[in-house]
């Protein structure tokens, strides 16, 4: 991209009109202002794209296989472990990492912290895509994916926790789409839509907080259905929902730090000065939030052990594994965040964010698969199940990048707003 932008001052596109006064067509905007030839050239120069091609070459046939021959063809079809990686990673892992949307929405729109404005849209996009792909993971996992709207309209089971998750995730997806409409409107040149969203942004943000509190918590409460199956250290009837909710706070913030780091490292051509100059300050601010959320989480995790009288379990092998999780995924990044923020070391905050984002996935996998059925036997997922997860995650990555390249997410639109 750098190569093309030096030869053509009109790109990257930041305005509805070209320097010569004529308008960019939609097609040109989609091609990033490049000729198809140039686009192809930049696409194939990137080794990541080659890797994606390789992943899809194997992954797409496996996904087709799943839809023709059933889940049995790609998973171990276990009746003891009804939920595998698709939900353990794709739903329980992706959703907390997508809490960024409501976190930054609240910070900027509710608390009026305009100093976080440059990263707000990235956080919203991170949230939207995370949820959208969590639904895609669900669509691979559901036995009858074509019946996804059933709990909404056909047959209602309102007393079930999953009913709440279904409704809230669906509603929250719409809220997040609405929150990102302004970015799309600027790019597309439809300002009326943007003004309308702007007028209801407070309501949207508040609904976002409500829906997020409840469904992040509900994902934890889902495990309350299996009190005798999950190792007691990973399940606490009273605290489960609050553990899941609280950990989603630092998970979402960490994910924005990770994502913004990738942007600043690999998309210099796309970011503008506002984003570039404020990112270090914002990263430190987010890191501070993470360390506060983590200490809160750590305390309620310990209170849960005390409340359920589970100290003795800590001396067992499972207990040591539990302490390892808490130590590596919570205590270590918590101190790294604190030290990084205190000394203005952005690098250490970024590493801490990566650890805590991976740590959240680890925690959700521990709850949904590893400590689940701890009295039976461990389930090691089928390789095809793993590959489908990688494929969907790659698709998530590509979609994320596709949007960042185009819409005004990490740069400000120069044209009419």
């Amino acid at each position: 991209m750098k190569k093309f932008s030096t030869s053509n001052p009109a790109i990257p596109i930041v305005d509805l009109v070209k320097p010569d006064g004529s308008s960019w067509t939609l097609k040109e905007k989609l091609w990033l202002g490049l000729t198809p030839q140039q686009y192809k050239e930049q696409f194939f120069r990137n080794w990541i794209n080659w890797m994606m091609v390789g992943i899809f070459a194997i992954g797409i046939p496996i996904i087709i296989q799943r839809y023709i021959f059933g889940l049995e063809a790609v998973t171990h079809a276990s009746n003891d472990y009804p939920w595998g990686l698709f939900l353990g990673f794709g739903l329980f892992g992706m959703v907390p990492l997508s809490a960024s949307g409501f976190m930054l929405g609240t910070t900027v729109e509710i608390f009026g912290r305009k100093d976080f404005l440059p990263i707000e849209r990235l956080a919203l996009l991170n949230g939207l895509l995370g949820y959208f792909f969590a639904v895609l993971f669900l669509e691979v996992d559901l036995g009858m994916p074509w019946r996804l709207p059933y709990p909404m309209f056909i047959s209602l089971g309102p007393a079930a926790v999953l009913f709440l998750v279904a409704w809230h995730v669906a509603t929250y997806l719409s809220v997040q789409i609405a929150e990102l409409v302004p970015a799309f409107c600027e790019w597309y040149g439809w300002l009326k839509g943007k003004r309308w969203i702007k007028s209801i942004v407070l309501g949207l943000t508040v609904s976002g907080i409500i829906l997020s509190t409840l469904h992040q918590g509900a994902l934890g409460a889902l495990f309350n259905y299996a009190p005798a199956k999950i190792h007691p250290l990973w399940i606490s009837a009273e605290f489960q929902w609050i553990h899941f909710f609280c950990s989603s706070i630092f998970a979402g913030l960490s994910m924005v730090i990770v994502s913004s780091t990738l942007v600043i490292w690999t998309m210099q051509w796309r970011v503008d000065d506002r984003f570039r100059d404020s990112l270090d300050r914002i990263t430190l601010g987010l890191g501070k939030g993470c360390s506060y959320a983590m200490i809160t989480y750590l305390v309620i995790k310990i209170i849960a052990i005390a409340h359920d009288q589970e100290w003795a379990y800590l001396l067992t092998g499972w207990g040591q594994y539990y302490l390892l999780e808490l130590g590596v995924a919570v205590v270590l990044p918590m101190f790294m965040f604190a030290i990084g923020v205190k000394n203005h070391w952005v690098g250490i905050v970024r590493i801490a964010a990566l650890i805590s984002a991976v740590g959240i996935i680890w925690n959700r996998l521990n709850t949904s698969m590893i400590a689940y059925n701890w009295k039976l036997y461990p389930e090691i997922p089928h390789w095809k199940e793993v590959w489908i997860c990688i494929t969907l995650y790659s698709l998530y990555f590509l979609t994320y990048r596709f949007i960042l390249y185009r819409l005004p997410i990490v740069y400000e639109w120069k044209g009419e707003k």
């Binding site: 049995e72 003891d80 939920w83 059933y150 709990p151 056909i154 089971g157 407070l202 309501g203 609904s207």
Partner: protein
Amino acid sequence: MNKQLSRRGFIKGGLAGTVAATVLKDTNADAGHHFEAYPNAMGVIVDLTRCVGCRSCEAACNKEQELPAQPEPFDDFNVFDQRLHGQRRRTDETRYTVVNRYEVPGQDHPLFRKQQCNHCNEPACLTSCFVNAYTKTPEGAVIYNSKVCVGCRTCMIACPFYVPTFKYSSAFKPKIMKCVFCYDTRLKEGKPPACVEACPQEALTFGKRDDMLDVGHQRIRMNPGKYVEHIYGEHEAGGTSWMYLSPVPFDKVGLDTDVPQEPILNYVTGFLAIVPMVLTIWPALFTGFHLLATRKDRIEELENDDKQEA
């Protein structure tokens, strides 16, 4: 103009929040509903001292429910040695009931235990289902409607007895497969399920659940030392229609003694109770935070307006 727009926007935003809250509040209106056990529910008591592991019940079930042929004939007793992941045989999409053998130290002969759906009074599968695919019938059976099932398999997570199984082999018509107490073919007409009828040892006794509890307690009382003084299923998971009597502690014959003595539903009501609270308090709380956080901007705005007017 600017000022007006922002005030209107504020009201509209608040309205959107309230509408969202009201619409969503309905979703959990009956979260706290309680589900009493049916007074005339039927039940079965399984007496492990009588079972000889003949597998007649397995054969009868297979025939009655028109399940696929099994790889081993029903008179093959080598199946008791089968292990998968170190576990004994379990129910799956081809069999709704299985009998397993347990060698218990101190017993001069092995014990056999039949397993099937226990037909809980307050079933976890039913209460965890978000499309209401399960029904507890007044006769005591827990039945399932595959026409509305989405295949999320939460019921399999929630069942403390690992009963519901999934037809993973089908891409287009998968469904949950589990014992239905022969509801459609027998129980509805007051007849005992096929397995009970087939048992040559009278190890399975069928009748009203309340009477079966009496039978169980009486057997314990009349035969001191023969049984563990507990009926597994009287209180487990809030009480089940199928119950077990055993000469040895229940965990020795593969029954999970960590299953709570109350309905699984009780573990989620705590969370469901916070839902209305969050829906009511959050909007006011966070709009309040917004007003507080932005009060300085607002004051500045007003002062600027005054200056312009002056």
